[in-house]
């Protein structure tokens, strides 16, 4: 049972974290994402529409999720980040590595 909002769209796992991924919520995100990835999907989109804040602990679990997806032969990308979340993703270099997209549909096609 996972509390992380998610759906499968065209074979891609779309994760929709709410509000914050910080040191108190990062572990739950990591565990939930890992459990969902274990069920088979290889492509992961982080739909950041509802995300207000991501801390360094949050970046870390995005990275571990991305590595898990990559090891399975897939990948991870990010969609719909608000400006302050984009700022954190830019400082961390995650924007270049994972890519930022304006919509989930664009993100999914970028992974195809």
């Amino acid at each position: 049972m996972t509390s992380l909002n998610h759906e499968t769209v065209n074979g891609a796992l779309v994760l929709k974290p709410s509000r914050r991924i910080d040191s108190s919520s990062a572990k739950a995100f990591e565990d939930d994402a890992a459990a969902l990835l274990d069920k088979g999907p290889k492509k992961v989109v982080i739909d950041a529409t509802d995300l207000d804040y991501i801390s360094s602990a949050g970046l870390r679990v995005i990275l571990t999720t991305a590595k898990k997806a990559k090891a399975a032969g897939g990948g991870l990308t990010i969609a719909c980040a608000k400006n302050n979340v984009k700022e954190v993703l830019a400082v961390s270099g995650f924007d270049n590595i994972f890519g930022l997209h304006d919509s989930v549909a664009q993100a999914i096609s970028a992974l195809a």
Binding site: Y53, V91, S92, G93
Partner: protein, 299 residues
Amino acid sequence: MSATSGVAAAAGPGDRLAALEAELASVRAELDDLNLLYQATIEHGEAVEDQLAEANLALQTTQKRLTEELTEAANYIFSILPEPRTASPVTEWLLLPSTELGGDSFGYHDIDADHMAFYLLDVCGHGVGAALLSVTAINVLRSAALPNTDFRDPGAVLSALNDAFPMERQHNMYFTIWYGVLTRSTGVLRYASGGHPPSVLRRADGSVLTLSTPGIAIGMMEAMSYRAAECTVGAGDRLHLVSDGTFEVETSPGQMLAFQDFVDRLARSETPGEVLDWVRGLNGPGPLPDDFSLLNIRF
């Protein structure tokens, strides 16, 4: 019941006295038993108390030893941080771990007569593990201990660090870093960063620049290539190196301090202590959520 009362009523006063005495003796015996039980309980309680006291003492001794060892480790970390410089470029710094041991560290040193390096790094997480990686990386930089690496080239240094510290071989830890090299003869400052907040350059004329290069934290991904950027610095310019813990505070519940607001305040600051006081004021009472480290360089 009424039949029994009838028998008692039929008996003489002597019989009633004997019955009461027998009852009294039985109650006394019960009381003695209870007294014995009470004594035994008290004694047992005292024994348990003694055991607890002993265990508590052992715990205190262990805790004291652990605290002493953590303090010793923290002393070591502070001992390898450089003395503030009084000659140009003048430096001033502040490092405040959020727990006894933090993952932040920094340094500066002359590479040769014309080149000087400044760097600040932040290992993910806090505590003993993060501190161990932090001092290892800082010692590697201080002693120029990376094979075939030109330490005057920030891009080459970060690429070599990334090769040397992959997270899979560092207990899944990685670190962000800002590394810059000043060429004294020309005033050129070359710099590169990996997943680290920009350094803030405040020019003598009051203009403010944020200095960073694209690139992710050291050790996150193999075979990354980092490139340096450069600018020129002159007399009166100030450079501020920071870790993310210096500005990741909430200004109100759920509302994080905007980086630009931090940059504006940092650029106006004279001392690291002044910035710490300001951030503490925003954060409210209690310890800061992350290590706070700030290095100021005045050219």
